[in-house]
């Protein structure tokens, strides 16, 4: 067994175990921490596949940004030691059945399909290549999605501020609109 295989087994077992714990844990803060472990192991997989830039983005954006945001909103909306009530047995059994059926179908399809790789030489990925592709207008360029996503981020930022903003001193937001 090579070191690569050992690393893959380690990362994938952490991912599977922690993602199951994320959706079954009855303490919400623990669920968030399990999600953090899942995201960090995923970035480990990206490092294994030699996509260092993507792994760094995964670590900073997902593990550093989104999980912190989620933990902040947990602390704003629920008590730390709050425990969920158990899920109804019926609901969890039927959901598990549906999920297991989907999983089995997917795995059978994956094992059945013959994937054929190209024989072309692998391209070296460094920061310069990534930056050039991201901003190039040529055949392999990605400038259109890049610009669209930047507008999306701006819109999401404005929307988040507007939605989460407290209503004016006169009460609900609808009333302030009527007054104007």
């Amino acid at each position: 067994m090579t070191a690569n295989q050992l690393m893959f087994i380690l990362f994938s077992s952490v991912i599977v175990a922690c993602s199951i714990l994320t959706v079954t844990s009855r303490r919400i803060l623990r669920a968030a921490v399990y999600l953090l472990f899942v995201l960090i192991s995923t970035s480990g997989l990206y490092f294994m596949l030699n996509y260092q830039f993507l792994a760094a983005v995964q670590l900073t954006l997902y593990a550093g940004g989104i999980v912190v945001l989620i933990i902040f909103s947990i602390l704003l909306t629920s008590h730390i030691s709050q425990k969920f009530e158990a899920i109804e047995i019926r609901k969890s059994v039927f959901s598990a059945l549906a999920v297991a059926a989907g999983l089995i179908v997917t795995i059978i399809t994956i094992l059945d399909f013959r994937f054929s790789a190209t024989t072309q030489a692998a391209r070296e990925i460094n920061m310069q290549a990534v930056g050039n592709d991201l901003l190039s207008t040529g055949k392999d360029g990605f400038i259109l999605p890049f610009e669209v996503v930047s507008i999306l981020l701006l819109a999401a930022m404005v929307a988040a501020i507007v939605v989460a903003k407290k209503a004016g001193p006169s009460g609900a937001q609808t009333e302030t609109i009527k007054e104007q």
């Binding site: 995923t42 391209r123 990534v130």
Partner: protein, 105 residues
């Protein structure tokens, strides 16, 4: 580099993660945990894109950039969702989806 690990292993790992996320989406009743399940689903899709890019099309960067954009959209989605959750909490003092059944009042 990726010697000894077939592509199928990555795909099966992503499939397991995806369906665990779907299970959480179906059974959870708290808005934040539902959001966490959605993050799991998005993350599993990213693993698929990256593995396909590395194994089947190593001369291109399309899967790489697609997962980059998926991460960006997930960040935007999380920000807006958490703003909505905080607003809901302010009006109803709960974020249990079964207790929030009024759209406008």
């Amino acid at each position: 580099m990726t010697s000894g690990i077939p592509l199928q292993f990555f795909l099966i790992l992503a499939a397991i993660m995806f369906f665990v996320g779907v299970y959480g989406f179906l059974t959870r009743r708290n808005l934040i945990t539902i959001l966490m399940s959605v993050e799991l689903i998005l993350n599993s899709v990213n693993i698929n894109f990256v593995a396909f890019n590395r194994y089947l099309f190593p001369h291109k960067l399309e899967g790489f950039f697609f997962s980059l954009f998926v991460i960006t959209v997930a960040a935007a989605e999380a920000a807006v969702a958490i703003a909505i959750i905080i607003n809901i909490y302010r009006r109803f003092t709960t974020i249990n989806v079964e207790d929030v059944d009024v759209m406008k009042y």
